[in-house]
Amino acid sequence: MSAENLESLVNKRYEHGFITDIASEGLPPGLNEDVVRAISALKKEPEFMLEWRLQAYRQWLEMQEPDWAHVHYPKIDFNSISYYSAPKSDDDRPKSLDEVDPKLLETYDKLGIPLHERARLAGVAVDAVFDSVSVATTFKAKLAEAGVIFCSFSEAVREHPELIKKYLGSVVPRRDNFYAALNSAVFSDGSFVYIPKGVRCPMELSTYFRINAANTGQFERTLIIAEEGSHVSYLEGCTAPMRDENQLHAAVVELVALEGAEIKYSTVQNWYPGDENGVGGIYNFVTKRGDCRGANSKISWTQVETGSAITWKYPSCILRGENSVGEFYSVAVANNMQQADTGTKMIHIGANTRSTIVSKGISAGKAQNAYRGLVKVMPQAHGARNHTQCDSLLIGKECGAHTFPYMEIKNPSAKIEHEATTSKISADQLFYCRQRGISEEDAVNMIVNGFCKEVFKELPMEFAVEAQALLNVSLEGAVG
């Protein structure tokens, strides 16, 4: 679409027909205030939301794209991106699994994805979704009974504006960083969770069961609020590789834990990593932060990152409440040309706050994997404690592991421990296993899974088994 067309499009923005058109066609590439208005209008958002987005956009304009991460990629042209892509019509999608890339199907097979799920994941335009919809409906009823709100972010903006107004941007402010500002201006959709006071959420909440999840990948926005004494475990992502047409992903996740509340957030990220030469993979630039706002609250992040060409994220905890606890358990795999710069920030503000960091980085092929972590203890955080364990495993000769631990300790009573190791799967280890009758592939899996054990045990049971299988598939062909 030419600049002229765009201008004329923009000029008739308030005409009813315009919205319908872009709803079926998507917005042309480019970013300006009118694009932000169009997105908000498409989502039928109230005025306050539009204002919020516009302010974010204006702030974003004044910000510089950061370049400190240990990752390399061509400069992104933000005006070449479409900020609202229409859901694919059924005509554009594969009609059946026969039309889907056999390689993708092979992967599903290895991961043991049930048949009826494969069609949904591969984007096949069939009724395959219906099964999950009925499951989701049953779940919704059960959640409503407990008073839990679990819906799409767009729905929450319309149905629960008072909660959105109160909490949105309260953990990750609009201008927190370049990509958070961008997300705040143009976020597509995401999840909203609200757990009322004293409620223990009756089931694990998984994005998997959320209807309306189509087309939310690019600029996802998630907000989880756990009221006093409540408890929730949230699972994000899926072990199966997801198709996505958008290269840049910039999500924001905000967690709020009030007094005595506990949030457990588990992620399995398996976006397309690109081919062996790194062509076509997803850039995953994410801001995830949890605020332990109340005393005795707890936020725990567990992530298994195997996908994306570039992963750039630091799920963090602000330990504001006294005795609050932050945890970060991570497995990050980088194979072929993948790059990962990931870790966490633990900000100790309240007295007797505790944090644990366990990071396991695996590099293979020509991949580069960096752990970057900050432990900050503020002057008033008496008796703060942190334990960090940061291990790297190298497979092959051409990959790299990097560790960047930062510590800012401003209270002398703090107790901080840091352990780090780097090891390598050696030819001798593999030969030893093979001499015992174990194939090379099984030997690599055994060693890798042994290395990741501490993190996997933090995942919900079912997820842990899937994550293990995923790791094996991700590292296939890494040796030899």
């Binding site: 030819a427 030893y432 001499q435 009758g437 194939s439 055994m446 060693i447």
Partner: protein
Amino acid sequence: MLQIKDLKSRIGETEILRGLSLTVNAGEVHAIMGPNGSGKSTLAQVIAGHADYVVTGGEVVYNGEDLLQLEPEIRARKGIFLGFQYPVEIPGVNNAYLLKAAVNAKRQYQGLGEVDAFEFLKLAREKMAELGMDPKFLNRGVNEGFSGGEKKRNEILQMAMLEPSLAILDETDSGLDIDALKAVAGGVNSLRGPDRAIVLVTHYQRLLDYIEPDYVHVLSQGRIVKSGDKSLALELEEKGYDWVREAVSA
């Protein structure tokens, strides 16, 4: 069971085995002795299939099959066990897990089902008791932080669980104190039987006091230069390897 004919092998550019021939029959225990660098360990590694050792000539036939064509894991599943001189550490991989994976890999190859987990643990604990190993070693990383003697006992434990047809023990006695040596020898002796063959690669005659060999071979410069019964080992102990070198060059 094992026929080696005129075997030649090199590592890098260095020729190590230079026409080695040896026949090992079921039920026999062979000891291979020789000075450092004579090719003892190379022989063990070539039989096991280590990729760094390139075979440049000769043949190795195991139970009628060309052994050199088989991948190392297939050789293992067909009953060849190598007790390593320097067992490698594999941190994070549970010792019991590796042991079970090895037993199951072999069973699967033989068309048997997986071993019952409780039976497996019970058997492993029995074998450990015989070897004087603390059962807590089952839950440690493979050889992780083990002392030299513990590593060697662990090799024997694996051997006992895998029940190989042909066991090659590469300097299993080196670095062992007398108690460990006795325990290891006990493990090897209990494996002796009419269907199995054992090849002991060793520097010293000491081990042979506890495991009595049927044949003793002396290796020098990549060839077997002298074979005999156990008295040869005693003679070697007394006269040293120079005696063999002199005898050969004379």
